[in-house]
Symmetry: C2
Subunit: 308 residues, 2 copies
């Protein structure tokens, strides 16, 4: 086996970037060759975490193509979220916390998926199993991932285990979870310097639901009014993406991390949004009360609506 | 969540039956409700192990349909090898050592797959993580599974970890691996009381290879001549199964566990067998030198042949 290439999903978030770095560190610690890489641009929240703990961003893969044969996927498993040449590669491992779909291998592999809020929580357990010590900067990155994925331990995806691990990691990283976490999330929630296209494509993932391609982007904010001021430009960009990439439904989920509601801007088969969330999309917009988690609160009801 | 139903694949082997029992024991030990069940008849090898360690066989599911919503799969993940109503169930966990294919879930789950020779080896690690003590009868069943899946630690699927775990388990079970293992394998290799249909359907699994349905049965023996004496009846039964179930290729792999070769009786697209193993099937028969592992030595080259 050549060096292992470790990467997370396209449109990388903090869990994806840090998990690639962290798992590579673990592999190196037990004497295996591994390199963290990424499939897209670092967002502002992730950059804040990398800067705070003085860690370099992983290398960007050209055209989202893995340039080694032997790979490990972190924080995702669905092929449409992965390297574009994923079907030609040998997947040796998957560390994840999502449902399994559109994933297969030709041979046996190491697959570690747990129903927790964040990949970092699974990685923490693997460090313990291998009795590898977690250095301060690695603990800081893992904590950042948990804060990001669970919106400061408040999302419905957050489990007891995430909270327990976050507290352990905060001690090693020597930061206060709330103080550090709020600063990091606020940084990620800023739309300073973002174009309408950047916002519409933020943390976007594709899902195959009963033969339809659904694209769901999500952006966190502390001020939804600031984003909705751009509504006309955002909707025009959504139309362009639907036209270009043949999506059947596009949803831009604007999540208010202070009050834990989301506003969705959506085009395409929006009657599925009506049915899934018992709302009425008007003027391409709807409020989803108490909805913050794409994985737990958006994809499952939408899947049901498409299967109905 | 209601009680968890734990089961392995159709045409159960020793690893599938014992892993269902063992994982249910582990779940119960940590205070969760779980019941081991099975999707088919107990073979003679497995019965020997159950009798030796005085454990009851799991309950047989009617029509291979799970009768609870919440399930855990052991020793398999591919839906065509599972309960016939698997797509309607909620899969909470998978403990396995096979490639992943034709598997998906609607929500997050606990998935633990390792590239080792046997599910029992993965289960041993999970016992250690939960610091649950392994009782003698459970250790005996786990050891039986490793002996069965690795043909007494000699199959190419057998890893260092399997050997290490088998030695630990033999101590707890208080048996000599070779003495006990040879008796168990010999019991499984006996065709006493088996009809041609029993032999042709022994440990049979279906694989979807590039749009073709391939059925591969395997039987271990210490005396291939005894089985080949039934060749005409076996081939007729293979024809009947192809006719009835529309297989594109049927392979009955007769594995000599003393010299570690296999003879295959095959009907259907047998040119794929020629191509995969660089042999010439003549009179529906070919010798596969040094081939004993379906997973590692039969399915991968056959997959390549179908994709070529
Ligand atoms: Mn994540
Ligand atoms: Mn097995």
């Amino acid at each position: 086996m050549t060096k292992l290439l470790v990467f997370g999903h396209q449109s990388p978030d903090t869990d994806t970037i840090t998990s690639a770095i962290v798992y590579s560190h673990l592999k190196q610690s037990i004497g295996e060759e591994a390199e963290a890489v990424r499939l897209g641009e670092i967002n502002q929240e992730t950059q804040y975490a990398l800067d705070y703990f003085e860690v370099e961003a992983p290398r960007l893969l050209e055209d989202m193509k893995a340039d080694h044969q032997d790979v490990v996927l972190v924080d995702h498993n669905e092929f449409q979220q992965s390297a574009v040449n994923i079907k030609e590669l040998t997947i040796h491992g998957v560390i994840d916390h999502h449902r399994v779909s559109n994933f297969e291998t030709e041979g046996p592999l190491y697959m570690r998926i747990e129903p927790v809020g964040c990949t970092a929580t699974v990685l923490y357990t693997i460090y313990k199993e291998h009795q590898v010590e977690i250095p301060q900067h690695i603990a800081g990155l893992m904590l950042s991932a948990i804060i990001s994925d669970t919106l400061l331990l408040k999302s419905p995806t957050c489990t007891e285990r995430d909270i327990e691990v976050a507290n352990q990691l905060a001690k090693i990283a020597d930061v206060d979870i709330n103080t550090y976490g709020f600063e990091m999330l606020k940084k990620g929630a800023s739309i300073d310097g973002m174009s309408a296209a950047d916002i519409v494509g933020n943390d976007a993932k594709s899902f195959e639901l009963n033969g339809h391609t659904v694209r769901i982007a999500q952006i966190n904010t502390v001020d939804p009014v600031e984003i909705l001021a751009l509504k006309d430009d955002l909707l025009q960009n959504i139309d362009e993406r639907i036209e270009r990439d043949n999506y059947d439904l596009y949803m831009l989920v604007i999540t208010n991390i202070l009050d834990n509601d989301s506003i969705v801007l959506t085009k395409g088969l929006t009657d599925k949004v009506d049915a899934a969330f018992d709302v009425k999309v008007e003027d391409s917009e709807a409020l989803l009360k108490d909805v913050v988690s794409r994985k737990k609160q958006i994809v499952p009801p939408l899947t049901n609506a498409f299967n109905a």
